[in-house]
């Protein structure tokens, strides 16, 4: 059986899935100051009475690293940054112990200027003196040639708990983001390691020795042991969990929008043929722009509890939440109150809701029902507008070839999947207003935990080959080989796939190997003088985000 646990802001959802479908689900309140006990309580609650040997997979999605980053509770980190010509690397400063050093690599991976070992030794000495235990080392173009980062790490030696190297955190070009991402990995490393060691130890004491997996922002998971090198990838996994939970119900051959409608916000994502779209660069978190792979999601301040007021004769809904709906004892009217007035919700509380909506109605010169209808329609409409803007944004992302420009894929969703507390009530009106078919995700209350439970192990590999220099390299994988002048684009793809399969296995993927695809495949003849001197090849492959193999029977039974 599989356990999925998703820690949210107010509570943690946890599910137990078996071949028969959803076996059990539970909710425990989140104690933001003690996530360890929150997680432990959730796991205890769901596994009570289940023989430990029956549980073969545990996946957690936590707010641990997100909180650490957003709240700035990082330990001191030493950042050593080698810039080379271009923007002054001092402008990319991430934290207090940030040192820029010499050394330069160019776009082809050629060394332009050597690193000065004495300057590194001096920095190492200072860091040791000031008690810094985590270090990040980042060079410009290190993903084309990591030799300087490796040399700096060698000089630093074994004097630090952990040294993070920029070329290992992501394969794409973006020096400032590589710096920020490396910094965040180093900054959350201690809290991440402590937390998961503690969880693992506690579970082992209960006889649960199955390795824990952790959900990432890209909707995939990795084993805890592998995450030690990339702890920041576990940030912002919450929105991804819900999207993954909706996948089992997404049409395979169609494009769809997923709305997770909550009390405060609505999070949205786009599915293309059952696969969620990824953000092409990386998440932004706590003021840092990163290379952390994530699903393309968009969040707006519109939900069941959004505050409604009349401003200069017009209705304003959200973006802030000022407490619960009046029907539930709040002091400000909300779309939920409108739903009470419209008779969509028939539980206790209509009187308070009506009082709130009537006050708005008086200002607008309308009846309470008319006002409620406007509030509800306004909320639905602003969600649809935001989704359409998101689709337009995705479709207007720049492309760099004539082919993609003229024949590139345009996303045109025809279906909306909704989940979240008020989703059931919104579905019908969303359908009427948008013209899209709207479906409610079954088991939406725990879709996030189900998504965590069933998510696949995802990863990505970038291969860069330069046959003039005679190298093929995948810096993230710490891989370089010498290649001849005939090394082809096809061979580069094969190499990338081989490295991807190895990486997936290392991260905990078992059957994911064939859920792979080429994301980028560019090959250029390098012409010097009037002759072709070599080929410049860039290949990026990935395990697509999705659900684990043989989830179908499980998912099929989730609708019961």
């Amino acid at each position: 059986m599989i356990v999925g646990l998703d820690v949210g802001g107010t509570h943690a959802d946890v599910v137990l899935l078996g071949t028969e479908g959803l076996v059990a689900s539970a909710k425990v309140p989140t104690d933001a100051d003690d996530l360890f006990h929150t997680v432990l309580r959730g796991l205890e609650k769901i596994t009570a009475g289940v023989p430990p040997e029956d549980i073969h997979r545990i996946v957690l999605s936590t707010t641990l690293t997100t909180n650490a980053i957003v709240q700035g509770q990082a330990p001191p980190v030493g950042m050593i940054v080698s810039g080379g010509p271009g923007i002054d690397p001092a402008l990319h400063r991430t934290n207090k112990h940030y040192f820029t050093v010499g050394g330069a690599i160019d776009h082809r991976g050629r060394i332009v200027e050597a690193v000065d070992p004495r300057s590194i030794k001096a920095i190492a000495k200072q860091l040791r003196r000031e008690g810094v235990r985590q270090v990040g080392v980042v060079g410009k173009f290190s993903v084309r040639n990591p030799v300087h980062e490796i040399e700096i790490a060698r000089i630093l030696g074994d004097d630090f708990d952990k040294v993070f190297l920029g070329h290992r955190v992501a394969g794409s070009l973006n020096f400032p983001r590589r710096i920020a991402t490396t910094y965040l990995n180093a900054a959350v490393h201690p809290v991440h390691q402590q937390f998961f060691n503690a969880v693992q130890r506690s579970l082992a004491e209960k006889g649960l020795s199955v390795p824990i997996r952790i959900l990432k922002a890209d909707g995939g998971n990795m084993q805890f042991s592998a995450s030690i090198d990339f702890p920041a990838q576990t940030a912002l996994s919450g929105p991804a969990a819900s999207v993954m939970g909706s996948l089992a119900f997404a049409p395979d051959e169609e494009e769809a929008l997923v709305f997770d409608i909550g009390g405060t916000t609505t999070d949205m994502a786009i599915l293309v043929n059952g696969v969620p779209l990824l953000d092409p660069t990386g998440i932004e978190l706590g003021g840092y722009k990163t290379l952390i792979r994530a699903l393309e999601t968009h969040s707006i301040g519109m939900g069941g509890d959004s505050a409604v007021r009349v401003d200069n004769g017009t209705l304003k809904i959200g973006p802030e939440r000022l407490g619960p709906a009046m029907a539930y004892g709040g002091s400000v009217p909300t779309p939920t109150d409108a739903m009470f007035v419209l008779g969509m919700i028939r539980t206790e509380g209509r009187e308070a809701a009506l009082a709130g909506i009537s006050a708005l109605a008086a200002q607008l010169g309308l009846t309470a029902e008319e006002t409620a209808e406007r509030v509800f329609d306004g909320a639905c409409r602003s969600i649809i507008d935001a989704a359409e803007a998101m689709v337009a944004r995705v479709n207007s992302k720049p492309v760099y070839t004539v082919h993609e420009m003229l024949d590139g894929h345009t996303v045109k969703p025809r279906k909306i999947l909704v989940l979240g507390g008020p989703a059931l009530y919104f579905a019908h009106r969303l359908e009427e207003l948008s013209g899209y078919k709207v479906g409610v995700i079954p088991r939406w209350k725990v879709a996030n935990a189900i998504g965590a439970a069933l998510a696949r192990t995802t990863c990505e590999v970038t291969v860069f080959a330069d046959t003039e220099r005679g190298i093929a390299t995948a810096p993230e994988e710490n891989y370089t080989e010498n290649v001849g002048s005939r090394f082809s684009g096809e061979e580069a793809v094969q190499l990338a796939y081989r490295l991807l399969r190895d990486k997936a296995a290392r991260l905990g993927g078992t059957a994911e190997a064939h859920e792979v695809e080429v994301v980028e495949n560019l090959q250029f003849n390098m012409v010097r003088g009037f002759y072709t001197s070599g080929k410049n090849i860039r290949v990026r492959v990935q395990v697509k985000p999705g659900l684990i193999q043989n989830y179908d029977p499980v998912a099929g039974r989730l609708t019961d």
Binding site: N174, R177, M405, N525, V527
Partner: protein
């Protein structure tokens, strides 16, 4: 967090699947290393710098500027529609005030493309700056535009397009035509009888360096711009003055280009040439973008930069000072020169032969312009190529007077049906393009 002082928009369209031919300088690889540098520097993440996806230009956009023979599809590839579209997208972003300044980093380039287009010359088929400028004139009612062409080659296409336009100031800085393609751009090329002085050529000797370029900017370009008071300044931002460029002989550097951009403060930059794809373009483009956005560029330095090796020779400095004096003297006399160029109502003709080096076509032109004191003047071009095509192109300018409008229509209506493959009328007062083919017209 780095923030731009000037909100800057970029269109980046490297056309990674388009080349004139596999080993041609204008090939797939040209902007590859520029993309690497731009991405690695994280320029699109800078607060205030944003990237736009280019729109394609329409045939109407092209026909505001060009007479394509026999039609636009015959001389343009998809990539030309996108590259001109990139310039247009940036023009719109600036005019809509979404950004303060913009740079279309696109290929193929355009500044050698003239009014009549039989094929490609100097790697260019259509003039992407002119298409953009005429679009913003039509859409935003802009009148006075200055084009400053800092490509190493004379911008003969742009010069030809604006030769008779008193509302467009065209200034070209380039390597002396006696030493480089296209072999034109001397100080005595100053514009037609209705726009005398509005074309300014500043030929520079081989080995001109940062000192020379910045001297010309300070002493000639900026003072003339100040007097002309353009509503929009466009920079044809070629990057082949760089000391490492393989097909030119200049000593300009990335720092020099960035400083020039800071001085010029162009509203819109459009990439032109530049073929040192590894040693120059990555650094020149980063410097240029930072300078446009008002971000510190002092550490942008190409690996091969050696100030001693590219110092400008004293003889070159002296020659440049002479040229500047000459150019300013012509500028100061432009009113008198225009009066002397012809009598109002007079028809003035010139004949010339043009060579399309890229497509190996020879074109013969006879151009006739009506001298006018009230507008830019109607003109017509009788053009035939060695591909046995002959067309007549008639142009009525944007603010044409009644007499010039009448002249244009007379030329179009009275053109002998049998003599031409096509007769074109570009009536800019109505933003209209009309085509008369003899088969239908003569029947």
């Amino acid at each position: 967090m780095i923030a731009a002082q000037h909100k800057t928009g970029l269109v980046f369209f490297p056309a990674f699947d388009w080349a004139i031919s596999p080993t041609h300088p204008e090939r797939e690889e040209r902007l590859l290393y520029t993309q690497d540098q731009v991405f690695e520097e994280g320029l699109f993440d800078i607060e205030g710098i944003s990237e736009f996806k280019p729109d394609l230009v329409t045939v109407n956009d092209v026909q505001r500027v060009h007479f394509c023979v026999p039609d636009p599809w015959a001389v343009m590839t998809e990539s030309h529609f996108i590259s001109a579209g990139g310039a247009k997208t940036i023009g719109m972003a600036v005019m809509n005030k979404e950004v303060e300044r913009g740079f279309a980093l696109v290929r193929p380039p355009g500044h050698h493309a003239m009014r009549v287009v039989h094929g490609s010359r100097g790697f260019c088929a259509v003039n992407i700056e002119a298409i953009m400028i005429e679009f913003i004139r039509a859409a935003y009612k802009v009148r006075r535009v200055a084009v400053v062409d800092t490509d190493c080659h004379h911008g003969d296409g742009t010069q030809d397009i604006y030769w008779h336009d008193p509302d467009t100031l065209f200034i070209s800085l380039h390597q002396d035509g006696r030493t480089l393609y296209p072999g034109t751009g001397f100080t005595n090329e100053i514009g037609g009888p209705n726009a005398t002085g509005m074309t300014i050529n500043i030929p520079l000797p081989p080995h001109t360096g940062d000192e020379g370029f910045l001297h010309v900017m300070r002493e000639v370009v900026l003072p003339i711009l100040k007097e002309f008071k353009p509503e929009v300044v466009v920079n044809s931002a070629g990057q082949d003055n760089h000391f490492s460029d393989p097909i030119t002989n200049m000593n300009f550097s990335a720092q020099g280009y960035a400083a020039l951009t800071s001085m010029l403060k162009p509203d819109i930059c459009v990439l032109e040439g530049g073929y040192s794809i590894e040693g120059a373009l990555p650094y020149v483009n980063v410097g240029l973008i930072l300078a446009l956005a008002g971000v510190d560029y002092s550490r942008v330095r190409e690996p091969a930069y050696d100030p001693k090796r590219i110092r400008q020779p004293a003889m070159v400095t002296a020659r440049i000072a002479e040229t500047c004096k000459e150019v300013l003297a012509i500028w100061d006399q432009r009113q008198r020169l225009r009066e002397r160029a012809g009598e109002a109502g007079e028809l003035i003709s010139r004949e010339r032969t043009l060579f399309y080096d890229t497509d190996n076509i020879v074109e013969r032109q006879k151009e006739t312009v009506r001298v006018c004191r009230d507008c830019g003047g109607a003109w017509k071009v009788d053009s035939s190529s060695d591909r046995r095509k002959r067309i007549l192109a008639v142009h009525i300018p944007r603010h044409a007077c009644r007499a010039c409008q009448q002249t244009g229509y007379d030329w179009f209506d009275q053109a002998p049906a049998a003599g031409f493959d096509k007769v074109f009328l570009q009536d800019r007062t109505k933003d209209q393009f009309r085509i008369k083919a003899p088969q239908s017209a003569g029947a």
